[in-house]
Amino acid sequence: MDEFLNSKIFGIKWSRLLNSCGQTLYMVGWGLLIGTVLGLILALILVLTRKGGVLQGRLPRVLYLVVNTYVNVIRSVPFVILLVTIMPLTRLIMGTTIGSTAALVPLVLYISPYLARLLENSLLECSPGILEAAQAMGANIWQIIRYFLMPETLGSMVLALTTGAIGLLGASAMAGYVGGGGVGDLTLTYGYEKMNTPLMILTVVILVAFVQLIQFLGGAISGKLRAHR
């Protein structure tokens, strides 16, 4: 095994390549997980407090405006710029600005508003009639979310997350700037800067494979969830 890991492919050790893949999976995985939680919360606030939303009038309108503006502002900053401008915040949260874990902070900050927009669109697919029926049944807001809003839009939300995950994969390529590593970093530092074209092609193939895998999984899960619609 060690022999294999120490053997080289296109000028780098296999262990390095696998490590990079691991780092990418780490960043995309955790980034997606935390980003989804935050994004979903933001999306729910947007959907429920918008004009005609279930909570309109029960929560202050300013909440919608704040979240909406926040999402728009963050979404308009390119990831590389976000990455370096929020370094103090990263240090505050993680204690360091270097490494895959540190890179998670800007990744989550970047992807959660994006996911919020995508999930908002998904949640809006739930017909107002369903929500009205839920209210007529006496469901409280948590019950509306849990038994009506989420189940009705789950298939669509999975597709949204698929798109988000691919966006996250793209963003993670830039994590090399803060020593986050990953396949993208490998491409830039070893492939591009050292003009190792075969390696560059290999890593691009790996990234393409990642995207295909994510898209396939997302499509399959969503298809299963929507099987009876």
């Binding site: 369903i130 006496g138 619609r229």
Partner: protein, 359 residues
């Protein structure tokens, strides 16, 4: 059971104000089927939503089962809503879930035990005759079956009131009839008070005890169905009644009527149920100096009884016509003199007070 008093509601659109409800007062009694009919935009949807507080009135009060709704919030509001089932035009079911799941939802919201849920869902599905579709997905069902699921879901929590928001408007005539029969059973067998809104007069005709007619946010006419169908007062009510009961002279008869050179009058007679105990038309035929032509006739079921409309061309001298009218009025039949305007080919009704004996 439901008492809405002088409710008004205005929606503020961008540049205009929509007066959805203007001083609406209705009182629905326990155990009856109360229908509200009106064209779209008349304010019916807003009105029915006052009852479970999906809408709140700007002014006026809403009382349900003796409870004033204006102060209800949170858990108390949820508790009230569980006593009120609601059925929708577009069914509003979770299409990707099974029939069982949909019907069990209101029970899940009440934190009932799985055994209880199992039992109650089986009961209501049996009532709406869908026991065999328990595990089918809603998306596989026909419109009528979907509405049955909707009704089963509304009945699951044993409500005292059922609100029907155009429950049959998306269905074909045959299915409409079967759903109406089901609603009638809900009312008679479970003793559930039903408030429904519709633009189909047929719905009122077949199952309602009382009816309110709405136009432009106001209730313009209200009363027992037999009364409103027998003697509609407002123009909009007459239009609605005409959609199910044809009380017009067929146009093909116009020329025959016009060709009559002798003195005649057109009279519309309505008989409701067995309120008239004599053969009025046969007796008219036997009156000396009077000739009777039937130029229009229609018999329709109404509220478990029958309403028949006849339009007669009575031919004779003024005196014979006058006494014939007196005879009809005395018999208990509802009489209305008609005039045809030959220019526009419109029929106008001559109000009882304005009949001239020479007409």
């Amino acid at each position: 059971m439901i008492r809405i008093t002088e409710a008004s509601k205005t929606f503020h659109e961008k540049s205009t104000e929509v007066h959805a409800l203007q001083n609406v007062t209705i009182h629905v009694q326990k155990g009856e089927i109360y229908g509200i009919v009106g064209f779209s935009g008349a304010g019916k949807s807003t009105l029915i939503r006052l009852v479970n507080r999906l809408e709140t009135p700007d002014t006026g009060t809403v009382e349900v089962a003796g409870q004033n709704l204006s102060s209800l919030k949170g858990k108390k509001l949820s508790a009230l809503r569980r006593k009120i089932g609601m059925v929708f035009q577009q069914f509003n079911l979770l299409d990707g879930k099974t029939v069982f799941h949909n019907v069990s939802l209101p029970l899940i919201l009440e934190h009932r035990s799985p055994a209880e849920i199992e039992k109650r869902v089986a009961e209501v599905l049996a009532f709406v005759e869908l026991s065999d579709k328990r595990d089918a997905y809603v998306s596989q069902l026909s419109g009528g079956q979907k509405q049955r699921v909707g009704i089963a879901r509304a009945l699951a929590t044993n409500p005292e009131i059922l609100l029907c928001d155009e429950a049959t408007s998306a269905l074909d005539p045959q299915t409409t009839e079967s759903i109406l029969k089901l609603l009638k059973r809900v009312n008679r067998e479970m003793g559930i008070t039903i408030l429904l809104i519709t633009h189909q007069m047929q719905v009122i005709q077949l199952i309602c005890d009382r009816v309110a007619v709405m136009e432009k946010g106001r209730v313009v006419e209200e009363g027992p169905v037999l009364e409103v169908f027998g003697r509609p007062k407002e123009e909009v009510t007459k239009r609605f009644v005409r959609t199910v009961i044809n009380d017009q002279v067929p146009e093909t008869f116009y020329d025959t009527i016009r060709a009559e050179s002798r003195h005649y009058r057109l009279e519309q007679l309505k008989f409701i149920g067995d309120t008239v105990n004599e053969p009025v038309i046969a007796n008219l035929c036997r009156r000396p100096g009077l000739e009777v032509n039937i130029v229009g006739a229609n018999i329709s079921p109404l509220q478990g009884t029958i309403m028949s409309v006849f339009i007669l061309q009575l031919i004779g001298e003024t005196e014979a016509l006058r006494s014939a009218e007196e005879y009809i009025d005395a018999s208990g039949a509802l009489r209305q003199r008609l005039m045809i305007d030959w220019e526009s080919r419109n029929i106008t009704e001559i109000p009882a007070g304005k009949e001239r004996t020479d007409g």
